[in-house]
């Protein structure tokens, strides 16, 4: 092999503490290095041109770039060598910036270490082989999991562009959290006016198949060729027949059912349609409250239903769908604020969550848009909002900021004033985070126009006093104790990962963080991709997000899906495991450990052998470390390559 070495100065980023020229000079003594130089900015246009020129002049077939982290610029240099006709995988990087120049000032040690890293990269590169992606057919359909605003956006964008979309929603209606909101910040426009038409579009779009009251049961296959099993939950209503007329909900004698859509603010009937604009507009029986199920006697709805849609004996059904890509848009759930003993842990009826308050504000909500204290139905005059409930609090394991609470609290303070002009709102906050477009102006309006009293500090205790609640906290700006006698306390509960998000992540073979949020491919460069090819993220399932961000990400995910499925055939990353059939004894250990089911057993001339499904393999190398005879090797991280690196470091 003819190897060229390029040692970057990165301006003074490297050169200040590493003698790049000396490193380049030392590299000339390494085996198979026929060209070595130092350059000012290797990643710059002239730097890349220099690589290309050198490849051509010196007939190089491999390049080592000693510069920054490969996580930064490996793709850059791969493209560069490819332009010079060298296989893109014939590049290795020595990270002499993040791992050398930036972490120590001892130039002698740094230069020596940088030289070592280059030697190691050369030894590894010598064993690199050109790799070529393989192609395979793809199903041009996408599964969207979750019918909140992010999922809706993805589904519509994809459907509009001509892809078939399968949407699965756990609840009986799509719309997600946004459907529950009254108004949205910072424009204070009506939530359902924005979302409603989109929901209708989903229902009516010929390219979209909607499964509501359904969950993803299992996912197999791989990018371009997923097999999805969808479990349709029991609704006791035949949706083929249900017209959503609502007669049953009127006549249902069980009227104290828990109202999930209204967050428990006001009851609903055991058979119900969550809200008038529900999509699909179909009734569902809540078995927990249905008299037919609790007492065995009733059957009113069945009698009344004009289409005979009620079916108490309904069983779960499984549906199969083939898709080429999957978008997870499962959103978030609200933090269960009862973890806070100082806020009463749920004992005081007039301490409610922000989303419950939102339902109260909603004209179509349980109170008809009137703000009423849950305890006595009175209109509150003093409303205290407490922020960061379940956010930025390491003590309850929620150290992150939920991002949108500052804004919706400001909105709710404004709306409170709108609804009850003689009311006074207090907002206890830690910091106001309003970095979006027109956001800070919005919070200022809440304070300045609507007179909300913002108190910077944590609330230490809420306790009842007569029919009031005393909210005691500290004003850290004034360094004084504050006590407010409130009629109603609204807690700005933070966002947490949706219920059982981790279960779904495991089905999709994607990672999730400590809090259950799905992990993106790269926080900056691959924000809607996951590390499983063909699975994308939209909305708050990746981390707390407000509506604009969720919609933006929904569209971004759609763009990625459309890009992926723009062709009938896909290319797979060739840096994957390969089986040397001669060495494989078919013991199956690799098959057992593969996290992606990317290895299967095959019969090769009567012998058991392992076979890698190239499109599925993600290149983790677990199989490689498992195979005792080394019959399965991860391309570009082969045993021999790692051993060459070890050997290079242990020499002398």
């Amino acid at each position: 092999m003819r190897i060229g070495v390029f040692v970057c100065h990165c301006g003074s980023n490297i050169a200040a503490t590493v003698d790049s020229a000396a490193v380049a000079a030392a590299a000339r003594d390494f085996d198979e290095v026929v060209f070595s130089t130092d350059t000012m900015y290797t990643c710059s246009e002239p730097g890349q041109t220099g690589i290309i020129e050198a490849i051509k002049t010196h007939a190089l077939d491999g390049v080592v770039v000693a510069a920054c982290s490969p996580r930064m610029h490996e793709p850059t240099f791969r493209r560069a060598v490819e332009r010079a006709g060298v296989n893109r995988y014939m590049v290795e990087m020595a990270n002499i910036r993040e791992h050398v120049s930036w972490i120590g000032k001892d130039k002698e040690a740094n230069t020596n270490k940088a030289t070592e890293l280059v030697r190691m990269a050369v030894e590894k590169l010598r064993l690199n082989r050109p790799l070529f992606p393989k192609t395979f057919k793809a199903t041009r359909r996408v599964l969207v999991i979750g019918g909140g605003v992010a999922g809706i956006q993805t589904a519509l964008d994809c459907a509009e562009a001509g892809l078939e979309v399968v949407m699965v929603e756990r609840e009986s209606t799509i719309g997600g959290k946004m459907a529950k909101l009254d108004k949205t910040f910072p424009t204070v426009d009506c939530s359902s006016c924005i979302l409603g038409p989109k929901m209708v579009d989903v229902a009516q779009h010929p390219n979209i198949t909607l499964y509501a009251s359904a969950e993803v049961e299992a996912v197999s296959g791989f990018v371009g060729n997923f097999e999805v099993t969808i479990r349709k939950k029991v609704t006791c209503v035949d949706w083929e027949k249900c017209t959503g007329c609502g007669l049953c909900t009127e006549k249902c004698p069980s009227k104290k059912a828990y109202n999930r859509f209204d967050e428990g603010v006001g009851p609903t009937t055991a058979i119900n349609i969550p809200f008038p604009q529900a999509i699909p507009k179909k009734a569902v029986i809540d078995k927990e409250f249905c008299r037919y199920f609790t007492t065995g006697k009733c059957g009113v709805c069945a009698k009344i239903c004009p289409t005979g849609a009620i079916n108490y004996e309904q069983q779960e059904e499984l549906a199969q769908e083939k898709v080429g890509a999957i978008v997870a848009a499962t959103g978030y759930d609200l933090f269960d604020w009862r973890a806070y003993g100082e806020y009463g842990a749920g004992r005081y009826p007039d301490v409610i969550s922000s989303l419950q308050y939102e339902r109260m504000l909603s004209a179509s909500g349980p109170t008809g848009g009137h703000i009423k204290r849950p305890s006595d139905g009175k209109e509150p005059k003093t409303v205290v909002f407490i922020q960061c409930v379940g956010s930025r609090d390491a003590s309850i394991g929620r150290p992150y900021c939920s991002g949108f609470c500052c804004m919706y609290t400001a909105k709710q303070a404004i709306l409170t004033k709108d609804h009850i002009p003689d009311s006074q709102s207090y907002v206890f906050y830690m910091d106001i985070r309003a970095p979006g477009k027109a956001y800070d102006e919005f919070t200022r309006r809440a304070m300045e126009e609507y007179g909300a009293q913002y108190v910077r500090g944590r609330v230490a205790l809420i306790y009842p006093k007569g029919d009031k609640l005393v909210v005691r906290g500290t004003d850290t700006l004034m360094s004084s104790q504050v006590e407010v006698e409130a009629d109603l306390v609204v807690l700005a509960a933070g966002a947490e990962a949706a219920r059982n998000a981790s279960g779904l992540a495991e089905k999709l073979h994607i990672s999730y963080d400590t809090y259950g949020f799905f992990v993106e491919g790269h926080p900056k460069l691959r924000p809607v991709e996951t590390n499983t090819a063909g699975v994308f993220l939209a909305g708050a399932c990746q981390g707390p997000k407000d509506i604009p961000s969720s919609v933006a990400q929904g569209s971004a995910a759609a763009a990625k899906v459309l890009g992926l499925l723009s062709k009938d055939v896909l290319e797979s990353d060739p840096q994957i495991a390969q089986v040397t059939l001669q060495r494989c004894i078919g013991c199956g250990k690799c098959i057992r450990v593969c996290p992606f089911q990317a290895i299967r057993e095959t019969d090769f001339r009567g012998q058991r052998k392992a076979e890698v499904i190239e499109a599925v393999c993600q290149g983790c190398g677990l199989c490689n470390a498992t195979c005792p005879q080394g019959a399965i090797q991860l391309s570009h991280f082969t045993d021999n390559q790692v051993l060459a690196e070890v050997e290079a470091l242990c020499r002398c």
């Binding site: 972490i103 020596n112 590390n531 983790c620 490689n624 470390a625 242990c650």
Partner: protein
Amino acid sequence: MSVLEGKERRIIGFLCNWCSYGGADTAGVGRFSQPTDLRIIRVPCSGRINPLFIIKALLSGADGVLVSGCHPRDCHYAEGNFYARRRLEMCKQLLPAVGIDPLRFEYTWVSASEGQRWQQVVTDFTAQIHQLPPALRFSESPDLELLRQCG
């Protein structure tokens, strides 16, 4: 010269690409100064690390080996580090069988955002290795002695 004699020890790190290598990058970006002894080998996942790499390194004259992967549950490949944890622990328990101080090998988890933690890990581990005597070496077969020389 692979290490600065009298100044550095030969320490090899195996880092998973997604978390710990990123964590080391983060530490660099943050200019968190670290001892210079460590040389990092990048692997896709801690699950890729065959414990024999570690043993091979230690038998070949490495004074210390440090493995770092994604925190459990945070594996880029979902479960690679779970397997790694068992294998690496097994490896650690085997080392004293051959007379290698188990303190020469540590494994830990550092995420891509934990630059400071990475600095701490490197600093601590390097100090730990400096407290041990240089690694024992086998008297090499004369046939291979040549290969030990630099070149």
